[in-house]
């Protein structure tokens, strides 16, 4: 290896270390998955139900027309088994089918809010399902669509939080379509619908609050990913509202399954495919199987069973397809299946494993006190999974709460720093709780949760037998104030303040009536309660910065070691610095220097604020040096 190659490797290694990961990453991934959640079963709560969902060929030309109304009612009854309604039902005219679309909120077995629907169709059976609400950081999102091939008009629907007053659909070509907002009495959220020509599918929605304030746009991308490749045939309708379509992609032939506009899964066909590739979502079992499979028997952890018949694919791919309603809600991962051929002989069997087996515990698995009165308790453990190329890591995992599969966060280092905590939600017993917890260092003396009303709740420390580090945890009633951040005290060190990382800082700031403070270069700023500082550049939101915790000031987040906090927008750099700083100078990695004038903040936060255009030609990607000077030109501090 040449000297240059050695240097390149070292430089990449050094830069790679600067990219941190956030502890809620797993939660964020889950929220992006198309309304599909893993779950361990609540073994005692559900009744064993034997279902026979034998495949029934779809009748064309309205052959099922007389049955669809009853079908819709039956589907509604099935969905509400084990759920309670949360608010009134909304009935929407569905222009795609000419039949009503029913939407309503419900609470699941763990008390978690869900949006349910029954979509009645003109020439096929009705179908429906229930999907969970994200637990953090969303104010409006897509939940379903009536769009299908050969339809002239389509309707998308979704959920919005209480203060959303207007939703407008925006097509890929920029055309805008007014939405309708529904406020079902007693419901925890609002429902929005947008009708549009099917040839102009929506790419996003624009939202405004009840008072008409623009709150930005929300993309449809997270709801439905683009087609994976070149279509190999027409879409094929399966029972339960499932649509299958094959595509040729770089990997080979893939079969994509969708329902209500959302992707259920994509299977790579060919020799690598298992004899049965089954997907569970909401209450639906669907998937693809080998050509000789004619029937599949499923049994779920809660005792529910289902038998599903298959049909040959219409594209001559030599596979069989299946879809049926009958899975327990969110029963995706924990099931057994046995596949039979036409003679009744068993051809394959499989059992989905416990995802926790992938993260074997190192030391004791600890249950958090105050959780588990309904459903599984929150269990926390350290694991060795994730150690390897970059050396040993302290990885903390948990299961339990309302999304009771597992979540892990690996720090890649011993817990000296206070990383953002893990978070587990429980809705029952009411009013529910939110637990925060994380790995602790041996010299940590205290951790406190700081609530948005200024109260501080101390966390408890615990060291499990044989674990590589202690943990801290604090459980807060959901009815209590929001957690704005944490304090942490290490032995012999000053108290550290740690605002909770909030990617919705700007979303919240947009709702404020407080005028924004103007800074140079077209930048404006506003303290967004309870814990962040929002910035706009020429009226457009840019990256926010950590703000003051309740009862503290921005100046409390700065010190001689951290004299400045700054970020970068599209054209500008901006931030706040220690009081007394009158000018900030940045020297970029390629030697270009830029300056920003700083002035005391107008909010009594004890810092100076600054903003300036990014100097032309500056490379802000690495190796920058930032210096602060007083009004007399004397250097006060340097950060590099």
């Amino acid at each position: 290896m040449t000297d240059l190659e050695e240097r390149l490797r070292a430089a990449f290694d050094a830069r790679a270390q600067t990219f941190e990961t956030s502890p809620d990453a797993w939660v964020r991934v889950r929220e992006r998955r198309p309304r599909r959640y893993l779950a361990l079963r609540l073994a005692a709560a559900a009744l064993p139900v034997a279902l026979l969902a034998v495949f029934v060929p779809v009748l064309l030309n309205g052959g099922l027309g007389g049955n669809t109304a009853a079908g819709a009612d039956a589907i509604y009854q099935g969905l509400m088994r084990g759920r309670t309604a949360a608010g009134e039902q909304v009935t929407v005219d569905n222009p795609t089918e000419g039949k009503p679309l029913r939407l309503w909120f419900a609470r699941g077995r763990l008390g978690n809010p869900e949006l349910c629907y029954v979509l009645d169709r003109a020439d096929s059976e009705a179908f429906g399902g229930c999907s969970r609400m994200p637990t953090i950081g969303s104010d409006a999102w897509f939940a379903g669509s009536t769009a299908r091939e050969q339809a002239e008009t389509a309707l998308d629907w979704g959920v919005a939080v209480d203060d959303i007053g207007t939703v407008t659909g925006v097509a890929g070509d920029g055309q805008r379509f007014p939405g309708q907002l529904w406020r079902p009495a007693g419901a925890p959220y609002r429902i929005w619908t947008v009708t549009y020509p099917a040839r102009q599918p929506l790419s996003k929605i624009e939202i405004a609050d009840d008072r008409g304030r623009d709150l930005g746009e929300r993309s449809r991308d997270m709801f439905a990913a683009p087609q994976p490749g070149q279509a190999l045939g027409a879409a094929h309708d399966l029972p339960a509202g499932v649509t299958a379509r094959p595509f040729r992609t770089k990997e080979g032939t893939e079969l994509r399954l969708t329902r209500g506009g959302a992707e259920l899964g994509t299977s790579l066909l060919g020799r690598a495919m298992p004899p049965v590739d089954a997907r569970m979502r909401e209450n639906v079992i669907t998937g693809v199987a080998a050509g000789n499979v004619s029937r599949i028997a499923f049994s779920f952890e809660d005792g529910t069973t289902a038998q599903v018949g298959t049909r040959p694919d219409p594209w001559g791919l030599g596979i069989t397809l299946f879809a049926a309603e009958g899975a327990p809600d969110n029963g995706e991962e924990r099931h057994r299946l046995v596949a039979y051929d036409a003679s009744g002989a068993e051809v394959w069997r499989d059992e989905a494993g416990d995802p926790r087996e992938d993260t074997p515990p190192v030391g004791e698995v600890m249950s958090l006190p105050g959780t588990g009165a309904v459903g599984e308790p929150v269990r926390v453990w350290f694991t060795g999974a994730g150690s390897g190329a970059t050396g040993p890591t302290v990885t903390l995992c948990y299961s339990g709460g309302v999304d009771p599969d597992l979540s892990c966060i690996g720090g890649g280092r011993h817990p000296e720093h206070f990383g953002s905590p893990l978070r587990a939600v429980q809705y029952l017993p009411e009013p529910g709780t939110v637990s925060y917890f994380g790995a602790a260092g041996d010299d940590w003396e205290s951790v406190e949760a700081v609530l948005s009303d200024g109260r501080r709740l101390p966390a408890t420390f615990r060291r499990g037998t044989g674990t590589p580090a202690p943990i801290w945890y604090v459980t807060i009633p959901s009815s209590d104030a929001e957690v704005a951040g944490f304090t942490m005290k290490r032995k012999g060190r000053p108290l550290g303040l740690f605002p909770e990382t909030r990617k919705d800082c700007g979303q919240q700031a947009l709702r404020s009536d407080t005028p924004r403070h103007p800074l140079p270069a077209g930048v404006t700023a506003l303290v967004s309660e309870p814990n962040c500082l929002a910035f706009w550049e020429n009226g457009e939101l840019v990256m926010g910065l950590a703000g003051p915790l309740p009862g503290t000031r921005l100046s409390d987040l700065l010190s001689a070691e951290q004299p400045v906090t700054w970020g970068r927008g599209t054209h500008t750099w901006y931030g706040y610095a220690l009081a007394g700083t009158a000018r900030i100078e940045v020297t970029s990695s390629n030697g270009v220097t830029g300056t920003a004038e700083a002035a005391p903040d107008p909010w009594g936060q004890g810092v100076t604020l600054f903003a300036a255009p990014v100097p032309e030609g500056a490379d802000f990607s690495a190796g920058m040096v930032v210096k602060g000077f007083d009004a007399g030109g004397r250097q006060l501090w340097q950060q590099d």
């Binding site: 830069r15 600067t18 797993w26 970020g567 599209t570």
Partner: protein, 159 residues
């Protein structure tokens, strides 16, 4: 059922993929990697190896698309800067790598991808080709051109 162990893959690879996206120039590496995992979860691939290849390719693709999107925004707005990751993180990179990394950032996208995948992830040519969506021969070309460009850039800096 040959089911990829999604949770294990996440625990083991999330941080590494965030770093990959960052090294490729993504302005929000976590956003890209979370999307890659979300897309992986709705797919059933051959095995864990295929899942890892899919994740790498998706991270490369999404980063590329994101950079293209930002370039289009820049074309519509005057005097736009290059997208970068968090400035505060970037300042942590030590001075000795400054010139080299600055030169890497100036490389054409494909050359930068080839070098990151080869010298940071230590991937084979076949794996790099899969991640970049190009032929193995092209990988050689991109990598050698990238190295040559870096060599030239560093010599110029030394003058």
């Amino acid at each position: 059922m040959a089911q990829p162990s999604f949770a294990e893959l996440f625990a083991a690879q999330y941080q590494s993929l965030v770093r990959l996206a960052g090294l490729l120039g993504a302005d929000d590496p976590e956003d890209i990697v979370q999307e890659a995992f979300a897309r992986l979860h709705s797919r059933r691939l051959r095995d864990d190896g295929a899942a890892m290849a899919y994740l790498r390719a998706t991270v490369c693709n999404l980063t590329r698309n994101r950079l293209r999107h930002l370039r289009l925004i820049r074309l519509r707005r005057p005097d736009p800067p290059e997208p970068v990751r968090s400035s505060e993180q970037a300042v942590l990179v030590c001075e000795e790598h400054r010139e080299l990394l600055a030169a890497v950032d100036r490389l054409p996208r494909r050359q930068r991808e080839a070098l990151v995948l080869r010298y940071w992830l230590d991937l084979s040519e076949r794996e790099i080709a899969d991640a970049m969506g190009v032929s193995p021969g092209s990988v050689k070309t991109h990598a050698s051109r990238g190295l040559a460009a870096l060599g030239r850039a560093l010599k110029e800096e030394d003058r």
